[in-house]
Amino acid sequence: MKVEQISIFLENKSGRLAEVTRILADAGINIRALSLADTSDFGILRLIVNETEKAKAVLKENGFTVGKNEVIAVEVPDRPGGLAGILEALSGSNINVEYMYAFVERSGENAIIIFRFDEIEKAIEALQAAGVRILKGEEVYSL
């Protein structure tokens, strides 16, 4: 049910993002989804890759601060109100979304949204109760 995500601390300096992607490319790692959150001083790059542990190791070797945590990947029907329904299910159970980002599945049928919750188990229950399809980790890594 849960998907592993790595996050990387980046100073707001030109070339840092390119460096991360180059390191991953050289290690033969494929990026499945990503989002970048930033402030005026720094940014946090969040990635879902096909080989989490390997990616974490090569980035650490190259001096980056890397964290790992679990997120949920949810399939969202590609029609008006698709996302609204999911968010309503969450707010109905008083679950707070820390952050989220979306990407489109290769087939183009459905969108996939990555959610970060503090109360991940509670969130899974609420989503399942609402009949939302939650992707397995392997499904996301091998997209």
Partner: protein, 433 residues
């Protein structure tokens, strides 16, 4: 004008006779009443009776900020606490401040010295003194306040901050004298200019600026922008506060030391040998008249030299040159003394923060800004922005509480702070003063 003609223009021989008598007195007193002094003297094998001439001063052990820290808060006081009517404090090298005390008579001595100081700078009865030094544990505010009252001037105890309001009051009340740090004086000038006011609409005539080092170039700038005479003053709480030495308005060349109360020495900071007059080294002071908190050969860590040539103003007191630097890593940020070790102390108390940090000091306009760069370790890293921003804010808050001056914390990637062999380069000071 001279406030105390008798002492400030005394022939050297007579002055030195008074110094010796007072020195013998203070050494006897600290030996009898302050255990750490007695122990140090016993360890060095020197007795109060060994002080037979002024040169014998060099037989006495030095006192350092570490001694004051080890005896925090009141362990170096020479009188019972019932006789201490006031305490002040300055930055210590770790989390604890350096505490000093005053008896009623000390407060009186201090007011006399500050009346001398103000007179030396050309201030007189009838002047309106706009005192923008901070009031509180810092000695600047109250030191000037009591001196100006003793002199018979009118004091505006405005303290620091809220510059626009300061300027309004300065204009409306007709302030003639400005007392603050030199960088704050420049900041006031800047705000006056920005608000489109004409500085000539103010009645300011003279400013007495201290608590941080400043150059002749900065003096010229302040004098031009505010249309005043800018006078340098020196002091430190361990000795008494402001009122240790000051420039005369006649010459503005070297700061007259009130030697009937303080004996200056210049030493080589490495060998600790006393250097001949005129040579540059570390300034050391012995207080002669203080009751609550006398200090013997206190190492100020300030670098200067003594000028013994007579001054045209008529004072026979030796002068010290403007401070040229420090022998330690103390920083002065907006008039507040900051030791990198204090910053380290705060950082280390926060779980997960690694001992890799750098302090970057700069000047934005006329004001000092300090940025602390902290490396983000895996322990403190989070994938959530609010967690990292919260951490930076928390460090800022804790630093502000400990240092009494605000700073900005910037989170940086690991290994971005230069590692050095041996002593780490902790401070990058970009200020041009």
């Amino acid at each position: 004008m001279i406030w105390n003609e008798e002492y400030e223009t005394m022939p050297r021989e007579a002055l030195e006779a008074i110094q010796l008598k007072r020195l013998q007195g203070v050494v006897e007193r600290v030996y009898a009443t302050v255990a750490p002094y007695r122990k140090k003297m016993d360890d060095a094998g020197v007795r109060p009776s060994d002080i037979k001439k002024l040169e014998d001063l060099k037989k006495l052990p030095f006192t350092t900020k570490d001694d004051l820290r080890d005896n925090y808060p009141f362990g170096m006081f020479a009188v019972p606490l019932e006789r201490v009517v006031r305490v002040h404090a300055s930055s210590g090298t770790t989390g604890k401040p350096t505490v000093v005390g005053y008896t009623k008579r000390d407060i009186d001595t201090w007011a006399e010295l500050m009346a001398r100081t103000l007179t030396c700078a050309g201030v007189h009865r009838g002047d309106i003194v706009h005192n923008a030094y901070g009031y509180g544990l810092f000695t600047g505010g109250l030191g000037f306040h009591y001196g100006a009252e003793r002199l018979g001037a009118t004091v505006i105890p405005i303290s620091g901050g809220n510059t626009k309001r300061q300027i309004m009051i300065m204009r409306d009340f007709g302030s003639t004298v400005l007392t603050c740090t030199p960088s704050y004086a420049l900041n006031i000038a800047e705000v006056i200019r920005e608000s489109g006011l004409d500085p000539s609409g103010l009645k300011l005539r003279v400013g007495i600026f201290g608590a941080e080092p400043w150059s002749e170039k900065m003096r010229a700038e302040i004098e031009r922008q505010l249309g005043i005479d800018a006078i340098d003053i020196y002091g430190l709480s361990e000795i008494i506060g402001p009122g240790v030495s000051v420039e005369c308005i006649e010459k503005k060349e070297g700061l007259h030391i009130f030697e009937d109360h303080f004996i200056p020495e210049i030493i080589d900071p490495d060998t600790e040998e006393v250097l001949p007059h005129g040579e540059t080294g570390e300034l050391v002071f012995t207080t002669l008249t203080k009751e609550a908190f006398p200090v013997i050969r206190y190492r100020t860590r300030d670098i200067t030299r003594l000028i013994t040539e007579p001054c045209t103003c008529g004072r026979t007191l030796y002068r010290m040159e403007k401070i040229m630097g420090r022998t330690d890593d103390m920083l002065i940020i907006r008039g507040v003394n900051v030791f990198p070790s204090q910053i380290e102390h705060v950082l280390m108390s926060i779980e997960g923060v690694e001992p890799h940090y750098q302090i970057i000091v700069d000047r934005e306009g006329a004001l000092d800004v300090m940025e602390i760069q902290v490396e983000v370790s895996e322990q403190i890293f989070s994938d959530e922005i609010k967690a990292l921003e919260g951490l930076a804010k928390r460090i800022e808050q804790e630093l502000k509480e400990s240092l009494a001056v605000s700073c900005r914390v910037r989170l940086v990637e690991p290994k971005t702070i230069q590692r050095s062999e041996g002593k780490a380069k902790r401070v990058i000071d970009k200020r041009k003063i």
